[in-house]
Symmetry: C2
């Protein structure tokens, strides 16, 4: 495309945390916008979004919503994506979906631009690119360079996930639960699987047969798909903790070839999108909120298994974990494919 | 001993969370008390402890503190234990130390009464029994029956530890940090390694060479000692989360012989001190506060490794994790050894 081309862009779920962050990043990164159309369901249509002096009203999703749109971000749930993504494609738009709806579909690429940008070409099949979940993005960005250098034998993950990935109302719910508890007004029905204030809950998503949650199985499958390693041995325990935007993981890795901690730090130090903290430094979820990088710390050899490494990952679940990754995909889409 | 014998008992660190809980449990469980002597350092001596209508004043630790005492609980830090435990023994008391001071000493038994009560006999060497750390207690209570049934090949642990194990002032610090943050008064120096409110911090204790923390290495060594399995392959990542009394762990186990999830649940269901939650039920740290059991949930097979199991453990870090275990040791001591 010509460098001066501009695009008509829709953001579905413009009132959501991820939708708001996408709008901010599009302006911040100078995305060539001819038009921005904000869309939402009954619950949010009519709301006014103010940003840098601009006031835009969210339109109601419906017939004709995507007329004239060339690129549509879906920052809503899988239900909305299932109902409207293909209509947007039919209307002529390329779709980037941030929900789980299409992530594991064979004919939809699941893309982390630092890892598999070439997969975006596969969007030709259905017009849709899927944005992975925030945990899968953070994990894959770190695993990919290790895989390329020394191979991966097994990966184990215990997560420390904040509530932002559950949406704006989850942020308010955690604040309210916390204030209630500090004022001895606990005991009400929680928005989470269990009361979350000053607690942690080993359930993200529904519990499935076999004892795993859907979210845990999803993280395994998304990671395998992004890394193009369908047989990767993985075990995940996903835990919601009382945090807002940050997310973290304790990760155990067994590599095919040996890789000591110093070599791993050097390798990850060169990897795009990764920021390595060494020595006494390490990232905490709160401290990386607002950062575009995936942060790694506590990198050390694990002598309890052959070729073992242990490390800690922290990232902003809404920024690199969702909105930034989607905007990075969009930047490649308009450069190479639209 | 005769069943009607009574004992003169000292509690060092009587103002601490663990000390207070020991006092409560001694009364609650009908421990045969002839005298209870509360002791503390300069900081707490003179304080009055009220309990069930009784008012006791904390005496200052010093020469003569243990005269006439037959059993001394140490619920203070390793410094106080190092300075006074052996003086208590010299004065004729059996010592149960809840600090880390003697846990890994070869001539001091490290005891979880459900697992290795017979090790209490070894207290004859120095007059001291060490109480393990709360994470080691919870982990060992669950691992011991699995070890006995099918053998253990490797254990990996990521912890979700509340602040109570860091003492009473840590409870206040977390409350205050939380209130400050909710009122946009953040940014002050934290009592923890990093600000903890609405965050999690992958550092408990000091960072040691090799990238592990002293606390992680300690958990490995304590678990090996309690299980009498010095070569057990273990990897731990210890993480402080914004919780008060509860503590939890995400645990991966590789057994020598196969053990499916149903058989593991049945086995742990019979194990002393363990409470298994099945199906959609699982324990959260807050919900088990006040409970004497170590709670297990999310028990499932881990297909990513041979003979793999994944599970979640939650316990009250101050009760079974410290005070109750110490009082259980005392009950065996007076029954069989004093």
């Amino acid at each position: 495309v010509a460098g001066d081309e501009e695009f008509a862009v829709a953001v579905v779920g413009a009132a959501s945390l991820v939708g708001g962050e996408i709008l901010e990043l599009l302006r911040e990164r100078g995305f060539p916008l001819r038009e921005v159309r904000l869309l939402g369901s009954n619950r949010t249509a009519g709301k006014v979004i103010e940003e840098e002096g601009r006031r835009d009203t969210i339109g109601l999703l419906g017939p004709g919503s995507f007329d004239g749109i060339e690129l549509a971000f879906f920052a809503a749930g899988p239900g909305v994506a299932g109902e409207y993504a293909e209509r947007a494609v039919t209307a002529g738009a390329a779709v980037i979906d941030c929900s789980s709806r299409f992530r594991l579909a064979d004919d939809v690429p699941l893309v982390v631009p630092e890892i598999n940008p070439e997969a975006i070409a596969e969007q030709r099949a259905r017009g849709i690119v899927a944005n992975p979940g925030n945990t899968a993005i953070g994990l894959a960005v770190v695993l990919a360079p290790i895989l390329a250098a020394v191979g991966l034998r097994r990966v184990t993950v215990s997560t420390y996930q904040g509530v932002a990935s559950a949406g704006r109302r989850a942020l308010h719910a955690l604040s309210k639960e916390t204030v209630d508890l500090l004022n001895s007004r606990g005991g009400r029905r929680s928005r989470f699987a269990r009361p979350l204030a000053f607690n942690c809950v080993p359930q993200v998503g529904v519990l499935a047969p076999g004892g795993w949650t859907a979210h845990e199985a999803q993280l395994v499958e998304e990671t395998r798909k992004i890394l193009a390693l369908p047989g990767l041995a993985m075990a995940v325990t996903a835990v919601r903790v009382a945090m807002f935007f940050g997310s973290a993981m304790s990760v155990g890795i067994e590599t095919e070839e040996p890789l000591d901690a110093a070599a791993a730090a050097a390798l990850l130090g060169e990897a795009p999108g990764v920021l390595v903290h060494e020595g006494d430094a390490y990232p905490t979820p709160n401290e990386v909120v607002g950062s575009e990088a995936t942060h790694v710390g506590r990198l050390r050899e694990d002598p309890s298994v052959e070729h073992g490494l242990s490390l800690w990952i922290a990232l902003d679940a809404v920024r690199k974990g969702a909105a930034l990754n989607a905007v990075q995909i969009a930047e490649i889409l308009i450069r190479d494919y639209l």
